[in-house]
């Protein structure tokens, strides 16, 4: 992988693309740390210190995706999330609104219009979310009212409404800017813009989190954690690459037909066919009990409430870990069954004259695919479950304070490795394309 990067840097136009991507990422990070006008940077830092180790609730995942920019109310506080949300909403709407469905069918030109709608919707969502967070910040709820002594948006000479409106405008504009940066990466850089920006956000927090282990536990622990993390990442890379190849043959050529080792066309079924989505589903679902607890009297818990508090809302409890694990396994099966439809794949193969050698097209092929898929999904589900609960063990082992912002576990590692692999693959493929000179000279 390192050699790939090195030779990529030796290829002029790839180097340009890489540097361009790095440049965009730098701008993104700058914007993510740049405080919005009207926000007291000093007070925000104090609040974040106060919050350190406290359970900050629903915003954790959002904060993770924005690289910590959210709690800082920086210019890019909303990050890429509104764009992702808008894309998902638009996708959903195409099922509901016939006009969108028709646009989608019109190919390039229609797709361009849908993209345009997505951008408008992103800005709309940006305004909504910016207003919401500004309101939360002003009322102190962004930090669970735990640092009300340090107002994040302090009073100034300017009228308050002007400060707030400026904030909302700034953050919305920031959202538009992030969206643009993402598209620039996709068009002119390497990798998928949205993924690269999420990767950046998560990776940006690694150094400070790692350092906090050092400050609290000393060098020995720091290196031990580092070594463990490396082992986990290696294992994840290994399994993410694993696939089962189902050979496919197309019987419609009469000339030049020759078996090229039988490996040229195949369906790659990954061990982790579901990707990171089941983990996100499961952890989102497990936020619910935590969220529900907020509505009850915290000082005088009833039996049920206490049980929930101790079991489902405490990541170190065995019940929590078990439920989490089982949920992930469930969602893995659920997601794979939904996104990989063996009948549809078999139909598509049949339509274009393809078949799995030795198996008849249509229903037998669908059944065969289904069989392989369900067998391969079990190790995939177990793997996802284990990787995801690892940080909970880290957590027991390190102590309760570190878990919430721990970036080395579950979702974060899976996302980072996934995006990393995808991007490296793209670089490699472009590199291959450009390097004929090497052996021809």
């Amino acid at each position: 992988m390192l050699s790939a990067f090195l030779s990529a840097f030796r290829t002029p136009d790839l180097r340009k693309k890489l540097l361009f991507t790095v440049g965009i990422v730098a701008i993104y990070r700058l914007g993510a740390t740049l405080p919005s006008p009207g926000v007291s940077y000093g007070n925000v830092q104090k609040c974040i210190d106060v919050m350190q180790g406290e359970q900050s609730g629903v915003f954790t995942l959002l904060n993770l995706f924005s690289g910590g920019a959210l709690l800082q109310l920086s210019v890019f506080a909303l990050g890429i999330m509104p764009y992702i949300t808008a894309s998902i909403i638009l996708q959903l709407l195409t099922v509901v609104i016939p006009r969108l469905e028709q646009l989608r069918k019109e190919g390039q030109a229609g797709q361009a219009k849908i993209t345009q709608y997505t951008r408008y919707l992103t800005l709309g969502l940006g305004i909504l979310q910016a207003s919401a967070f500004v309101a939360l910040a002003r009322s102190g709820q962004l930090f669970n009212n735990m640092c009300d002594q340090f107002p994040i948006i302090p009073q100034t000479d300017l009228p308050t409404w002007l400060t707030l409106v400026t904030l909302v405008i700034t953050m919305t504009a920031g959202t538009g800017m992030v969206m643009w940066l993402g598209e620039l990466i996709t068009d002119r850089g390497v990798g998928n813009g949205m993924s690269v920006l999420i990767f950046t956000s998560i990776a940006a927090r690694l150094p400070s989190e790692g350092w906090s282990i050092k400050t609290s536990k000393g060098w020995g622990m720091f290196f031990l954690v580092l070594a463990l993390v490396l082992v986990v990442i290696t294992a994840v890379v290994f399994i993410e690459q694993a696939q089962r190849r189902i050979p496919v043959q197309y019987a419609k050529r009469m000339i030049g037909r020759k078996m090229y080792g039988g490996t040229s066309t195949y369906i790659p079924l990954k061990v982790n066919q579901a990707g990171v989505i089941p983990v996100i589903f499961a952890s989102s679902l497990l936020y619910l009990p935590q969220l529900a607890l907020q509505f009850f009297d915290q000082n005088n818990p009833g039996d049920v409430q206490a049980w929930v508090q101790n079991n489902l809302a405490t990541p170190s409890s065995p019940t929590y870990i078990a439920v989490y694990f089982l949920l992930i396994i469930f969602f893995t099966y659920f997601y794979v069954s939904i996104t990989f439809n063996p009948t549809e794949v078999a139909d598509n193969m049949k339509k274009y004259g393809g078949f799995v050698p030795g198996i008849r097209p249509g229903k037998p092929t669908a059944e065969y695919l289904d069989f392989i898929l369900s067998r391969i999904t079990l190790p995939g589900a177990l793997y996802l479950g284990i990787v995801s609960i690892l940080p909970n063990f880290f957590f027991i082992w390190l102590d309760n304070q570190q878990y919430q912002n721990f970036p080395f576990g579950g979702t974060a590692v899976l996302i980072m490795v996934g995006v990393g692999l995808e991007t490296v693959k793209q670089i490699e493929s472009q590199l291959m394309q450009r390097n004929y000179e090497g052996f021809l000279r």
């Binding site: 190919g107 050529r253 037909r257 339509k351």
Partner: protein
């Protein structure tokens, strides 16, 4: 485009100087958005027009020799245009209009110019070709759509070139290598794009440098740029050699699929591009073969043959996709409605169609070399082009060729009346109304040009007209020889011409016939009346057809007759049509939703074609790079002695015994043979990979990346393999043997059927998720 819109565009073109403020703002904004047709600012070119006009008098004084002399010294746009204009005036007795000079200057600066039909593109190209030569970009190739135009234009424009001191040549299919070499040696060569491409491919396969005909490709002026650069771009030009010894399994397979019925035995996909057996069909075929399992390993050859035969039966229709003439099957170009010369279907499909028609099979071809029109055009250092409809493909020209569109205003405003579509519920009603409309116009003596979608339709319509007592000339793929003559007379008083699609592009329709005797009488009746018997797959082709009327300010009118049973509508927008549209008693539909549905269907068709083009292009990029890399290698083998040196190193003793001249010739021939063979095998392997690469998307892999991942290592194995095989052949060859690779034969398959429209037919993971949830919700709602 709605008729009103068409008129609006025309208005915009001529009204450039006196635009209102809001219009100017709008055009600024469009330019800011880089909308095609707005990015090229003609103002700097227009500023030169007075200077050009100022030189006119002075140049008129010169005698021919002095003009030629001056032509040899011209080195800026003003000189080039002024002298070009004078030469055209003397040579053809036509003084180029200012707009033609504008077009020439735009061509000189490497743009695609949009000029309306009849504005004199041919002459514009002459001035541009002359300019390119003067500016050091020669030699210039003018790429035309067919041989007829290449020869006609070259001969027609020769006097002008002579006055300009340039030599001009033309190449057609019938030209001998000698004639080709001579033609390519001239300053300006007129040649059809396929001839130029084939010459290039042939040059790539010569075993002796002296056999080459084409010089280095420098400048191309592409005539009918949209047709060549967009419509034809995705058709690969293929050089194929005959495959020996393969027996003919397709004829046998043909008997098996004959008698199968659509729906019961096989199903044709909605887009009409693929067909598959149903379980019943499969069982029927297997029963005929004696209850074998076709999907068993040993029967794959037979299965392929049966699939191909089924494709020929179910998807290819006589007189739509091909015609049978002179005992052979000839393909019809889907974009132009004329016979596509020397084009063949690939992979045994040609033989299957021949079997279907009961003809004896011609030899199968194996691909020896291939290049897409797009990659071929990209080999030119400078490319510019002209056409009547460029703006609608402006985005694609920019995406695929980095070409910008310059919209040249027309000399006289276009006064053609574009009527709104007439939509009928059924095809029968449409045809009835169509014939009535033609008969009415004919009754008044007004010339009518009817554009139909395919050969079958044109013949059906001709029969209908004959029954109604209207005589007509039919112009379709079956009689393309008289094409130019028929089209030239289409404007005569009382003429009715039925033509398929864009047959006869490049030939003017003059009102009152080619000699314009009845011009005034016809103009009084409203000029040429163009009727389309159905919308084409793209607005651009519709506009080309409309453009046949109203040339150079002539009066004219156009209208399209559409039915809801037209294939375009049925194929692309069956859901968009309201269940009971509003209509008149005669079946004329007057429902806005239907208008929308028809245009929606057309936009889908355009999108599908664009997607096809883009996919072909994306996957051909890597193949083109490999072709270039290998061509370099081949060039070195051809022009140096490296093959012989390699052998000398390996077999010093044996090489001593062989005469050095013989050794170097033999080594070169053997190495070149293996290089060509391995390349052919490599191409076959790549198309195999391409076929199923979309399935990789299921493993969350990018199909294009995966294609590279397969193509590049395969190519890397090629060079050592050439060496190994060369050595092996050397070891077993006796050197008095005169050993040559098979004679290459030229065919041009249309390869579109093998490619998928969508790179990832399953959609993104999110699409699949949403679709699955949607399905579940709907089925839950039902139960």
């Amino acid at each position: 485009m709605r008729p009103g819109g068409a008129a609006g565009t025309v208005g915009h073109r001529v009204a450039l100087p006196d635009m209102g403020v809001s219009q100017r703002l709008k055009s600024r904004f469009r330019r800011f958005l880089q909308r095609p047709g707005t990015t090229v600012d003609l103002a700097p070119l227009e500023k030169r027009l007075p200077a050009i006009a100022a030189r006119e008098e002075e140049l008129k004084e010169l005698d021919d020799a002095a003009l030629t002399d001056a032509a040899g010294r011209a080195d800026d746009y003003v000189d080039i245009c002024a002298i070009g204009r004078e030469a055209a005036r003397r040579g053809l007795d036509q003084r180029p209009y200012d707009v033609q000079l504008l077009g020439a200057m735009a061509l000189l600066s490497g743009k695609v110019t949009e000029m309306a039909t009849g504005e004199g593109k041919t002459l514009t190209a002459v001035i541009a070709a002359y300019g390119h030569v003067r500016l050091g970009n020669g030699p210039v190739h003018v790429l035309t759509v067919n041989d007829y135009l290449a020869r006609r234009d070259a001969e027609w424009m020769e006097p002008v070139y002579r006055l300009l001191g340039l030599t001009v040549g033309w190449v057609t299919e019938a030209s001998t290598p000698e004639q080709r070499r001579e033609a390519y040696d001239r300053d300006v060569t007129y040649v059809s794009v396929s001839e130029a491409g084939f010459d290039f491919l042939r040059d790539q396969l010569v075993t002796d440098v002296a056999d080459r005909v084409q010089p280095t490709l420098t400048t191309a002026i592409v005539d009918e740029a949209d047709s060549i650069l967009i419509d034809e771009a995705r058709v690969p030009m293929v050089l194929a050699g005959a495959v020996a010894g393969e027996q003919d399994p397709v004829h046998a397979a043909d008997a098996l699929v004959r008698g199968l019925r659509a729906g019961r035995h096989y199903e044709v996909a909605d887009d009409g591009r693929s067909v598959a057996f149903t379980a019943a069909g499969l069982a029927a075929v297997e029963a005929k073969l004696g209850d074998i399992n076709l999907y068993a390993d040993e029967n794959i050859g037979q299965l392929s043959a049966i699939n191909v035969a089924l494709h020929a039966h179910a998807l290819l229709h006589r007189d739509v996709d091909y015609i049978v003439r002179n005992g052979g099957v000839e393909l019809i170009d889907e974009m132009r409605g004329r016979v596509a010369q020397r084009r063949r279907w690939p992979d045994g499909l040609q033989a299957a169609v021949e079997a279907k028609e009961g003809l004896s099979a011609t030899a199968e071809g194996e691909v020896l070399g291939t290049i897409t029109v797009q990659a071929f055009v990209a080999l030119y250092r400078t490319v510019c082009g002209m056409t009547a409809t460029a703006v609608l493909v402006g985005d694609q020209l920019r995406e695929f060729f980095k070409l910008e569109v310059a919209v040249i205003p027309s000399n006289t405003p276009c006064v053609r009346v574009d009527e709104p579509d007439r939509i009928y519920a059924t095809r029968a009603e449409k045809e009835e109304a169509l014939i009535a409309e033609i008969a009415a116009a004919h009754g008044a003596g007004r010339p009518v040009l009817v554009g139909t979608l395919d050969v079958k339709e044109s013949e059906g319509l001709a029969a209908g007209l004959a029954a109604a007592g209207v005589p007509c000339s039919v112009l379709n793929a079956k009689n393309d020889a008289e094409e130019a003559a028929i089209i030239a007379e289409a404007g005569a008083y009382g003429a009715v011409t039925v033509s398929t699609q864009m047959a006869g592009r490049g030939v003017d329709i003059r009102l009152g016939g080619s000699d314009q005797t009845d011009r005034d009488r016809v103009a009084e009746l409203g000029g040429l009346y163009v009727i389309g018997s159905g919308r084409h797959d793209s607005r651009r082709v519709d506009d080309q057809l409309r453009g046949r009327a109203g040339r150079q300010g002539d009066p004219g009118a156009s209208v399209f007759f559409v039915s809801l049973e037209d294939e375009l509508v049925l194929r692309h927008a069956p859901d968009a049509i309201p269940p009971s549209p509003r209509m008149n008693a005669d079946g004329l539909v007057t429902d806005e939703q239907v208008d929308f549905a028809v245009e929606h269907a057309q936009r889908i068709a355009e999108g599908v074609n664009h997607e096809l083009h883009r996919n072909t292009w994306r996957y051909s990029v890597v193949i083109e790079q490999q072709r270039r890399a290998l061509a370099e290698r081949r060039e070195r083998l051809l022009t140096s002695d490296i093959a012989a040196e390699m052998l000398r190193e390996k077999f010093p003793e044996r090489c001593e015994e062989i005469d050095p001249d013989v050794l170097s010739r033999a080594a070169r021939t053997i190495a070149l043979f293996h290089l060509d063979r391995l390349w052919a095998e490599h191409l076959a392997e790549l198309s195999e990979v391409r076929e199923g690469v979309h399935l990789r998307a299921l493993g969350r892999l990018d199909p294009l990346d995966e294609f590279h991942r397969a193509a590049v290592p395969a190519f890397n194995r090629l060079i050592p393999e050439i060496e190994t095989r060369t050595v092996a052949t050397f070891e077993e060859t006796e050197f008095d043997a005169d050993w040559q690779p098979d004679e290459a034969r030229l065919v041009r398959p249309s390869a579109t059927w093998t490619y998928l429209v969508h790179d990832n037919p399953f959609g993104s993971e999110l699409d699949r998720l949403i679709a699955a949830v949607g399905r579940r919700l709907i089925s839950a709602g039902r139960s």
